[in-house]
């Protein structure tokens, strides 16, 4: 298991964002993180990426603790934050070379070109990030998450705001990345879960309400569609 989460909790003031959740994620499988808005998905992902520290409990990535060994953890993970914040006044290549240098990668020029090809940014690679459309910004966000070939990939709503064509591209990219990495992605779109995820975790009000593979989730709830299952569990 490359990602282990053990009874992790996080409060914002009096509000409990994440309430003692535990789960595992294995390499070669894509884990879908589902839940209504405000359920604690993003908070959990921020804690996995060592950006936030949990109030209690512990999480580890490939055996490294996210609190005590955050530098090692950060080297091993790629993280696409929610809403894809980017430095809009930087050029695509300039930004990617900053990211590559921050991981102290060798052969940065080659890696930047490879990743640009991988996410399909060739036609936009000489532009400023601020000039790109939403779909291409999303690709830049993905590129910064995978440029250092991380073992664990954490994607917070990677497909929000994409058109149907881009959606298919990004999904197939995530699927191909998922063959050798541990991928955890959050989403609201049920078709997406069916299309690319192997396992599902449904989280509601900070608690895990379902943690199973997608086949057994469907088998458990009989003829219901994933949307109906989601509604039944979280409302």
């Amino acid at each position: 298991m490359s990602v282990k989460v053990r009874s992790v909790s996080k409060h914002y003031g009096k509000q409990k964002a994440v309430d003692s959740i535990s789960f595992d994620a294995a390499p070669g499988r894509i884990l879908g993180f589902l839940g209504p808005n405000g359920a604690g998905k993003s908070t959990t992902m921020k804690m996995l990426s060592s950006y936030l520290m949990p109030d209690s409990g512990s999480a580890s990535i490939c055996g490294y603790d996210t609190q005590g060994q955050s530098l090692e953890v950060k080297r091993l993970i790629g993280y696409l934050p929610e809403n894809t914040p980017l430095y809009l006044d930087m050029y695509v290549k300039e930004f990617l070379s900053f990211v590559a240098n921050s991981y102290q990668l060798s052969q940065t020029a080659k890696k930047i070109n490879d990743v640009i090809e991988q996410v399909g940014l060739q036609s936009e690679q000489h532009k400023k990030i601020g000039m790109l459309s939403k779909g291409y910004k999303q690709r830049v966000g993905l590129a910064q998450a995978i440029i250092h070939d991380p073992k664990v990939l954490i994607l917070d709503e990677p497909t929000s705001g994409l058109d149907p064509n881009q959606l298919l591209d990004i999904r197939s990219l995530i699927k191909s990345l998922g063959t050798d990495k541990t991928v955890i992605l959050s989403t609201h779109i049920m078709q997406e879960v069916e299309a690319i995820c192997d396992d599902v975790i449904i989280i509601n009000k900070g608690k895990i309400v379902a943690d199973t593979s997608i086949e057994s989730l469907i088998a458990q709830h009989g003829p219901l569609s994933l949307e109906d299952i989601f509604r039944n569990i979280t409302v």
Partner: protein, 242 residues
């Protein structure tokens, strides 16, 4: 850390803001030192740079907050701080990278003023009649003063999402640290508190270095000043309340 430093410096150099503030600084010192009759060295008649060194801190008070105000405030508003925080760098490395990037810009603003030194050197009678030690000391003092103000600016920038708030707050703190403690010390003439407040004043230590004597007490003062504000910045950013 070098990657973050380079990005910060390039970010500053790619923005018009940096050039405008440096330009305004040079324009103001140029006008006040060479053209305005009340303060002009040419009218004054003595070939020395004391006018520049007493003017520069007040310009720094506005110039430096203008350079530092965006460093954390903008990241916070745009939500881009996470892009730095998820890299394998510590919070301290991020703070120091931003700090030194701004400090380098302050040095860039100071370098062109060396031409004033050359001018005075040529204008003195006999030629070269200028106290080089005092000038060197004053430049070192100005650099230390600048590094103290940059630390204040970085700290206030971490406090707010709004760059204007960060700017105003840091001008205020710089002013209090530079002139405020001096003024307060005069309320307690000849008492124990006079020396206490004088020793807290940036101006007092700046003047002391400007005489050309590099005292370890002054050096320790500035290092402590910078460290305090950077530690406060760490406390603010480490909480990730934003």
């Amino acid at each position: 850390m070098y990657a973050v430093f380079k990005r910060e410096l390039m970010g500053l150099l790619n923005s018009l803001m940096a050039y405008i503030t440096i330009g305004v600084f040079l324009l103001a010192t140029g006008l006040l030192l060479w053209f305005f009759p009340d303060t002009s060295i040419l009218e004054y008649g003595y070939a020395e740079l004391t006018g520049f060194f007493s003017l520069a801190p007040f310009l720094f008070m506005f110039l430096i907050p203008a350079i530092t105000m965006r460093s954390f405030a903008e990241e916070r508003r745009e939500g881009t701080y996470v892009l730095l925080a998820i890299r394998p760098v510590t919070d301290w490395q991020i703070i120091l990278a931003k700090y030194f990037a701004c400090l380098v810009l302050v040095v860039f603003a100071l370098i062109p003023t060396l031409i004033y030194y050359y001018t005075i050197y040529q204008l003195g009678l006999p030629q070269g009649n200028i106290d080089g030690g005092a000038v060197t000391g004053s430049y070192i003092g100005l650099l230390l003063l600048g590094s103290a103000f940059v630390a204040v600016g970085i700290f206030t920038s971490s406090l707010s999402k709004n760059q204007v708030v960060a700017f105003a707050l840091s001008v205020f703190i710089c002013f209090i640290a530079y002139s405020g403690f001096d003024a307060v010390s005069q309320l307690f003439v000849l008492s124990y508190f006079e020396t206490v407040f004088l020793s807290l004043s940036v101006n007092e230590h700046y003047q002391s270095i400007s005489r050309g004597v590099l005292d370890t007490r002054d050096l320790i003062y500035f290092i402590t000043f910078v460290a305090l504000f950077l530690i406060a910045t760490k406390a603010v950013t480490g909480g990730r309340k934003w």
